[in-house]
C-alpha cells in the first residue's frame, strides 16, 4: 500500500497550489454541523474468542445450558470519542492498524450500534469500503445500474450518469470490460468501479475506507478531485487512509485515533507532524 511516497512530492506541491488558489471550499452557510459524535463507545462481542468453537460437544453444551456463548469476549474498539464535523469539511482518519478507524466509520454510518454515547447525522451517511462487494456474477454494467438504484437514484438519473460513472472508473480504458462479470475483474478494478458508483451521487456525508489506496495513480488523482468536488457540493467527507499523502492532498482536518481514543483533532499539517513523530519512535 506504500503508494509512491517519493514520486508524489511533485503532485503534492501541485495540489497545494490549487488549494491556495481556491482556499477552502466552504459553502455560503458557515459551520453547519453534519455529524456529531458524543462520548461514543463501541464494543464488539466476539463469540468463541477463548475456547474452541468448532467442537460439537462444546456447542451442544452451550445450547443445553442456555449460556449465550462459551467464550464471549468484549472488545472495546472505540472509547469515548467526541467530535463535530461541519458541512464542506474533508476529514482524514489516521492511526495504526486496529486503532478503531473503520469501526468509527461504521458507527457513523449507522451500521454498528453504540454501546454508550450517540452519533447524530445529517441524512444518511454512506460508507464506501474496499471490501464492500457488489454482485460478482453480474456484469459491471449491471452493477452500475443496480448500485445507482440502490442508492436511491431514479432510472433516468442512472441512465444519465451511467457513462460518467464508467468513464470515471476507467474500466473501459483497456477494452470493453464493463460488459464482463465483475468476478473477472482484478481487485483494483472492482474497487475503482465501486468507488465510481458511490461517488456518482451527491452524498451529505460520504465516508471512504482506504479506497484510494487501491487504484493506480491516475485513478487516485481523479478520485481526489472528485472528493474535492463533493465537498463543494456541501457534503462532508471522511477518509481513512494509511497513505499520508492522500490525506494531505484531500483533507484539511485530521482525527488521530489510537487504541480507540481520540488522540488528536486538528489541522492536517499539525496532526500529521505529531503522528509522524509518534510512528517513527
Amino acid at each position: 500500500m506504500a503508494v509512491a511516497e517519493d514520486t508524489g512530492r511533485g503532485a503534492a506541491a501541485e495540489s497545494a497550489t490549487t488549494r491556495a488558489e481556491q482556499p477552502v471550499a466552504r459553502p455560503s452557510a458557515p459551520w453547519v454541523p453534519t455529524v456529531i459524535a458524543e462520548e461514543l463507545h463501541i464494543v464488539y462481542r466476539v463469540y468463541g474468542g477463548t475456547k474452541g468453537k468448532g467442537s460439537a460437544t462444546a456447542a451442544l453444551n452451550r445450547i443445553i445450558r442456555r449460556k449465550p456463548g462459551g467464550g464471549m469476549r468484549e472488545v472495546h474498539a472505540v472509547r469515548g470519542v467526541s467530535f463535530t464535523a461541519y458541512r464542506g469539511q474533508a476529514i482524514g482518519l489516521i492511526g495504526s492498524n486496529g486503532s478503531g478507524k473503520s469501526t468509527l466509520l461504521k458507527a457513523i454510518a449507522g451500521l454498528l450500534p453504540a454501546e454508550r454515547g450517540k452519533v447524530y447525522t445529517d441524512g444518511q451517511p454512506s460508507l464506501l469500503g474496499v471490501n464492500a462487494a457488489m454482485m460478482n456474477d453480474l456484469t459491471g454494467e449491471r452493477n452500475v445500474v443496480l448500485g445507482g438504484l440502490a442508492m436511491g437514484m431514479s432510472r433516468e438519473e442512472v441512465e444519465r450518469r451511467y457513462q460518467g460513472i464508467v468513464d470515471f472508473s476507467g474500466i473501459n480504458e483497456k477494452g470493453d470490460f464493463i460488459t464482463l462479470p465483475m468476478r473477472t475483474y482484478s481487485s483494483g478494478m472492482g474497487a475503482r468501479l465501486r468507488f465510481s458508483i458511490a461517488a456518482a451521487k451527491d452524498h451529505d456525508v460520504l465516508m471512504i475506507d482506504e479506497a484510494l489506496a487501491t487504484g493506480d495513480k491516475k485513478f487516485q488523482k481523479r478520485s481526489e478531485a472528485r472528493i474535492r468536488e463533493l465537498r463543494k457540493e456541501a457534503g462532508t467527507v471522511f477518509l481513512v487512509s494509511h497513505n499520508n499523502k492522500s490525506i494531505r492532498d484531500t483533507c484539511e482536518r485530521v482525527l488521530w485515533l489510537e487504541k480507540g481514543e481520540l488522540r488528536m483533532d486538528g489541522p492536517t499539517d499539525e496532526v500529521l507532524k505529531e503522528y509522524d513523530k509518534f510512528t517513527s519512535k
Partner: protein, 314 residues
C-alpha cells in the same frame, strides 16, 4: 485528550458562537440531525420501500440472470430443474408407488397434476430457501449502501415469480399436450398467483430476519421445506392418500389441506386442469388463500421491519 488548536489558517473548528453553549443533543436538534441508524416508522418505511421499487425489480432481474450465468445451458435450467424434478417424482411416486390413484378427474390427469404442483410448490420453496440468505448472502451490499432492507426479500420473491412465469410457458405446453385447452377458468390463475406471491414475500421476510440472526437456519430449512412438500401433496392427491392409505382422521386431512402450499397448489390445478372437479377442492379454499396472503404478507413485513436497524451489523 484532543490538543486542538484554534488559530489555524485552515480553520477546522468554528469561531466562538452561541452554538458552543448547546449540548450535542441540542446542537443536533437545532440543525435537524438525527440519530444514525435509527429505524423509521412503518409508514415512512413503506414510503422508502416504494421509492426503491425500481431497485427491487432490477435486483430481482439481475439475480435471475446471474443465477445460471456459470452454467453452459444458462437460463434453460430455470425450466429444466423443475421439469427434471417432476420426472423423478413421476417415476418414484407415480409409477413405483402408485400415487396416480385418486387423481382428481382421473388417472390421466396425473402428469399435469404433478407438474403444476411441482412448479407452484417450487415457487414457495425457493422463496423460503433464498429468503433465509436474503440478508446474510448480500452483506456486502447491505454494509455498503443504504436502502430499506426489505427490498432484498421482496426482490427474491419477485425473482421466483418471474422464474415461475417462464416455467408457465412449459406448463401450458404440457397442458395442451394432454388436451387441456385454455378455458375461462385459466383466468383464476391470476388471483391465485397474486395471493401466493404476497404469501411468499411475507414468508421470505420472516425467513430473512431469522436467517440474519441465526445462520444455522440455512442448514435446517431444506429439511423443513421437504417435510412441507410431502405433507402438502405435491406428487400425490393429498386427501385420497390420507384417507385411503393412511386412514387419517378428518381433522388431520382438513389441517393439511388448509396449509398454504396445499391451498395454492389446489387452486392452480383447479384453474388449469379441465375436468378437475370443484368438489375435490378443500372447503373455503378462496378465503383461505386470501387469509394466508394477508396474515403472512403483512405480518412478515412488520416482523422484518422490527429489526430493520440491526441487519448487517456486527
Amino acid at each position: 485528550m484532543s490538543e486542538t488548536t484554534h488559530d489555524s489558517a485552515v480553520g477546522v473548528k468554528p469561531p466562538p458562537s452561541q452554538d458552543d453553549r448547546l449540548t450535542p443533543a441540542e446542537l443536533a436538534a437545532k440543525y435537524g440531525l438525527s440519530v444514525s441508524g435509527a429505524r423509521p416508522s412503518l409508514a415512512e418505511y413503506t414510503r422508502q420501500l416504494w421509492a426503491r421499487r425500481h431497485f427491487i425489480l432490477a435486483f430481482s432481474q439481475a439475480k435471475l440472470t446471474a443465477q445460471y450465468s456459470q452454467a453452459k445451458l444458462g437460463q434453460l435450467w430455470q425450466v429444466a430443474t423443475p421439469l427434471l424434478n417432476a420426472a423423478v417424482y413421476y417415476l418414484i411416486f407415480g409409477v413405483l408407488l402408485g400415487g396416480r390413484d385418486g387423481t382428481p378427474g382421473g388417472k390421466g390427469n396425473y402428469i399435469p397434476f404433478l407438474v403444476t404442483g411441482v412448479f407452484v410448490f417450487t415457487f414457495t420453496q425457493t422463496s423460503v430457501l433464498n429468503g433465509v440468505r436474503a440478508i446474510s448472502g448480500n452483506l456486502g451490499l447491505v454494509r455498503a449502501l443504504h436502502f430499506p432492507r426489505a427490498s432484498l426479500p421482496i426482490s427474491i420473491s419477485l425473482q421466483q415469480l418471474q422464474q415461475l412465469l417462464f416455467s408457465m410457458v412449459v406448463l401450458f405446453a404440457i397442458l395442451l399436450g394432454f388436451g387441456h385447452l385454455p378455458s375461462w377458468s385459466w383466468i383464476l390463475v391470476v388471483p391465485a398467483l397474486a395471493f401466493q406471491f404476497v404469501f411468499n414475500t411475507g414468508l421470505a421476510m420472516i425467513m430473512a430476519r431469522l436467517g440474519s440472526r441465526t445462520p444455522d437456519m440455512a442448514q435446517l430449512m431444506p429439511f423443513i421445506t421437504r417435510t412441507w412438500m410431502y405433507a402438502s401433496g405435491v406428487m400425490f392427491p393429498l386427501e385420497h392418500m390420507l384417507r385411503e392409505r393412511a386412514n387419517a382422521d378428518s381433522w388431520v386431512v382438513h389441517l393439511l389441506q388448509s396449509n398454504p402450499a396445499a391451498v395454492y397448489m389446489d387452486l392452480m390445478r383447479f384453474a388449469l386442469i379441465d375436468n378437475y372437479p370443484a368438489s375435490d377442492l378443500p372447503p373455503h379454499v378462496w378465503p383461505l388463500a386470501l387469509g394466508w396472503a394477508v396474515v403472512i404478507g403483512f405480518g412478515g413485513f412488520v416482523f422484518f421491519w422490527k429489526a430493520e436497524e440491526r441487519y448487517g451489523r456486527g
